[in-house]
Amino acid sequence: MSCAIEVNDLTKFYGRPETGVLAVDHISFEVRRGEIFGFLGPNGAGKSTTQRMLTTLLEPTEGHIVINGHNLAHDAYPVKRQMGLVPEESNVYAELTAWDNLMFTAKLYRMPRSERTDRAQALLETFGLWEKRKVKVANFSKGMRRRLSIAMAIIHKPSLLFLDEPTPGLDAQSARTIQNLVRQLNAEGTTIFLTTHQIEEANQLCDRVAIINHGQIAAIDTPEQLKRTFRRVQSVEVSMEPHGQPLPDIQAELPEATSIVRQGDKWRLYTKDPALLLPQVMEYAHSHKLRVVSLSTLGPSLEDVFLEITGRQIGTVHHQTPATVSQQQNAKQTVAADET
């Protein structure tokens, strides 16, 4: 029994048959004991829905979940004792102090008194909250609340910890603190199921990553393997003046570009190797008497990676939201770090 989690054909359909949403669509995967398993996908991919099913909060429409050898559908009690849960929103009691929040959770898990006070003190110290233990959580910052909610999730020493997007909305320092805590917990033997929409975070933390979109898993692999895919869908974004001109023969003159998409006054050129594409772009601009006003290399967005993996035509996404831009920037750093 080496698997912490085995999932088979897991499906969740919300609402009525005609109008409902198929949030999770027959997914199957395994999480090995002792690994950090990343669940990577864009907004609305079905990550939280999956995590809520794995943590007994939501009843699947179809499929089986076996955790530590127990089928969740009819044997959830022993599983509940062994798992810790950090949800998307820090669900701490604002009216209670940090200490009382921890004590309450410890009592829910029936920890003996001396053990729970020792453990709470140790956790508050590790999480940098010991000085604030008597402060009502209503006065805590977002990062402090998040740390407290993680402390509450692990006070009973779960063998399996679920984290739903633990770092968005935190500053870089707080995010790093939490990532280090996750690593440390894992080093101490906790299996970790980490939901995220940041490629960077998945790369840095996870042993294996599942990529999910529209309720389906596109790939499960090590970050190293996935990065090869990521690299195939890098892109160069270029803006040339005068704007709005048709660019004749652009596809033919830029052989390194695998796909070309117009986005507003910019062009997005997908490529496997930006280093080869960049001179071609400059050459093209020169020969057509265009002025390059901006040029940047971007890592892949999750959407791009997903399309690449599922073998669909890339570049079908024509609009960009600020969220995807920041993901791309994250990804760019990753790729850069990888290259050095």
């Binding site: 009843e59 209670l96 959770t105 829910l108």
Partner: protein, 255 residues
């Protein structure tokens, strides 16, 4: 199962229900919604419908106690559970290793606890200020306990409606509470009702709580006090069933 298997589990579940109740009391006693609908409401109702009439102080206290158990106990569930769902703290309770029944009993205990405290305050006012003598103190204690329990589990039914918005629940639960209040023998004593109204009154658990208070404080009720006790106990347990069912439904809907 052998006792050495289920006994520790039972102890665990009781301790967990207790932990939930104590936590809720700490978290919610100062919340405006709870103070308004739970603690002030029975007094408002009492003074707006009773004070003008000529009435013996004993009857007045019996009525006030029925109102405090009823309103305070029934206010907790519909306020606390949707709020916890919205803040996500309910997931913490649902994911904990305890049964749904344990969770609901913990939640029922919160409403009952608030109702007992508010009733105790009303009782102290009645005895100390109005000089009311209690005919049967034991019956009074049992009445307050059982009434609080039964009306608290009644409130849980509304709290269990699958929603994250306390506002969605407030409306139906207030309607039901007011409805019950006016069909029960609280403002019009049972013997003075026309027979059709009395039949309707017998459908409401509040009627039996009021009758029990009448036995306990002035010492004259219409029904057999054992019947009152039996009905309150039974409804208190039966009211848990729809809550269990709706909680299971929430788990399908994703609330």
């Amino acid at each position: 199962m052998k006792p050495d298997r289920w006994l520790p589990r039972l102890q665990d579940e009781l301790a967990q229900a207790w932990a939930v109740a104590v936590k809720d009391v700490k978290v919610y006693y100062l919340q405006p919604g709870m103070i308004m609908f739970g603690f002030m409401m029975p007094f408002f109702m009492f003074f707006s419908f009773s004070v003008r009439r000529e009435m013996a102080a004993e009857l007045g206290v019996a009525r006030l106690l029925a109102l405090t158990t009823f309103f305070t106990a029934a206010a907790a569930g519909p306020f606390i559970i949707p709020l916890e769902r919205r803040l996500g703290t309910y997931d913490r309770l649902l994911a904990a290793p305890m049964s749904l029944l344990t969770l609901l009993l913990g939640k029922a205990a919160v409403g009952a606890f608030f109702a007992i405290v508010v009733s105790a305050i009303a009782l102290v006012i009645g005895v100390a200020v109005l000089g009311v003598a209690i005919a049967r103190p034991w019956l009074l204690a049992v009445g307050i306990l059982l009434g609080s329990f039964s009306f608290s589990t009644l409130g849980l039914i509304f709290g269990s409606i699958p929603t994250r918005n306390p506002g969605d629940v407030q409306m139906p639960s207030t309607l039901l509470r007011w409805g019950l209040l006016f069909i029960s023998g609280v403002f019009i004593p049972l013997p003075e009702m026309i027979p059709a109204a009395r039949i309707v009154a017998y459908l409401s658990p509040l009627t039996y709580a009021q009758d029990l208070m009448n036995h306990a404080v002035p010492g004259v009720g219409l029904l057999n006090p054992w019947l009152d006790i039996g009905v309150l106990l039974l409804t208190g347990i039966l009211f848990l069933l729809p809550s269990l069912k709706m909680h299971r439904r929430s788990r399908k809907l994703g609330y």
